[in-house]
């Protein structure tokens, strides 16, 4: 499925995305490290796409069963992760009235 040029492409993407990740996350305020972790957790649950393909293709009984459980696990992370991140961020208020919404 994956030829050697695909592998090189994938490595390029991995390394460059890692760099972007480092530069972007270095700038995240330490105030928000907990919501950052719950947000990246929700984003990481994008692994659900792999599980959706397994269940949708239903290629074998085992791949279907594993895929089904995997979708449930990942979706609970997506829903729970975004939900709790939003709850936390709503609580952060500034004392400066200009910033109050």
């Amino acid at each position: 499925m994956s030829s050697s040029s695909n592998l090189i492409n994938a490595l390029f993407i991995f390394v460059l995305a890692g760099f972007i990740g480092f530069e972007v996350i270095r700038r995240v305020s330490p105030l928000l490290h907990t919501p950052l972790m719950s947000l990246t957790n929700a984003l990481d649950a994008i692994a659900v796409v792999g599980a959706i393909v397994l269940v949708g293709e239903h290629a074998s009984r085992l791949s279907f069963a594993f895929g089904f459980v995997a979708i449930v696990a990942a979706t609970s992370n997506i829903v729970g992760g975004f939900f709790i991140t939003d709850r936390m961020l709503k609580m952060f208020k500034s004392s400066r009235p200009a910033n109050k919404s």
Binding site: N6, L31, H58, V72, I84, M91, S95, N99
Partner: protein, 464 residues
Amino acid sequence: MTPEFAGGQYIIEILYLIASVLFILSLKWMSSPASARHGIWAGEAGMVLAIIGTLMRNGLHDYRMIAMALVLGAIIGVPLGNVAMTAVPQRTALSHAFGALCVTLVGSAEFYLRTPNISRFMMSVLSVEVILGGLTITGSLMAAGKLQEILPQRPLTYKGQNFVNLLLLAVALAIAVTLVLYPDRSSLFPFMVLLALIFGVLLIIPIGGADMPTVISLLNAYAGLSAAAMGFVLDSKLLIIAGALDGSSGLILSIIMSKAMNRSFTNVLFGAFGQVQASAAAAEAKPVRSATAEEAAAILSAANRVIVVPGYGMAVAQAQHKVRELYDALTKRGVDVRFAIHPVAGRMPGHMNVLLAEADIPYDHLVEMDEINGDFPQTDVALVIGANDVTNPAARTDTSSPIYGMPILDVDKAHTVMVIKRSMNPGFAGIDNPLYYLDNTLMLFGDAKAFVGGIVRELGGGHS
């Protein structure tokens, strides 16, 4: 390939590209509390686009079961998003376990679908995926159990522990190498996963509660890297990007946390902290000065600048709302009150900020250690609530102390230090704190919530 098929492929890839950009923007907007909520919307939009794109793929037919699994996951996700703020660390650990479970299951399914026609490269990344995924599942469950106090929080160590752990990992890696060379020996695969699962348990057994911020960050990095490996297996650029972002986030947080404890990764993972020193017993008889709520209130109301140093003990006592009342009462009297936040205060990175934000304390009064440390000498009162090791001056001076070299909040440099503490028992790491015996230190013995409430009443600012 028919032209229609190719066209559909392009749309899907474009959707994935937009999702990737939205994910990066989502993290970028987390740089400040003012823009952070845009980040959630970007993340959610990216997620929806990616799922729509995936559902458009050719070859999917079992949509009913996909929908059922999605709904079931959402039903489980709602209570997990609704936990109390004090329980966020264990929720986070649990969600690392779920993420890793998804990755490991998909990796295992892909192995059985493809065996024995697996290229060496494919088998290598698949092994990385399931080994990292497997150890993250059980490691995170163990961490969640310790944080929820279902499991004992004290580190459990025995002789030869590191040797056993490394041996186990070596055997798992040897199986991986065998599978790379001889992909038809599929009967070995379950053993590789099993060893990774056992390794995850053993990895967390020797780790104490005080190290949890580092460990959660490290497990976050593992979960991200295993998802990136899954991206290589499935040839999905979107997954590689999301995994790399999550992995680098976990790695950066682990580095920050280890620096804040002056320890290396290997030290956290292989050098169980928290054994009570033999010398700690010798310090018991030293005299301390204590004060009542009335005296504490008098000193606080006479102060111009107060820095509150909150620790996990404050959260355990559920004192953060009383602390908010104290903040209000003092601010009303014109006292400048700020909060000094040590990077490892709480049970996960940033935990203390969330707990104080929940109590409605404005975030611009929450100050990082490096920014506030220079201000302690000009501070009238440093009020320590439920924090211990992060205020221990032995970290600066006592080379024999296990926390020597750890960056601390210099509370001892304030004119007066007040420490609210239940008793003179040593803190979480079992290390005696010389701060309590200083001439400028007043011990306020009692439950944090009750004592702060008492001070607030004396100040006449309570709501009771």
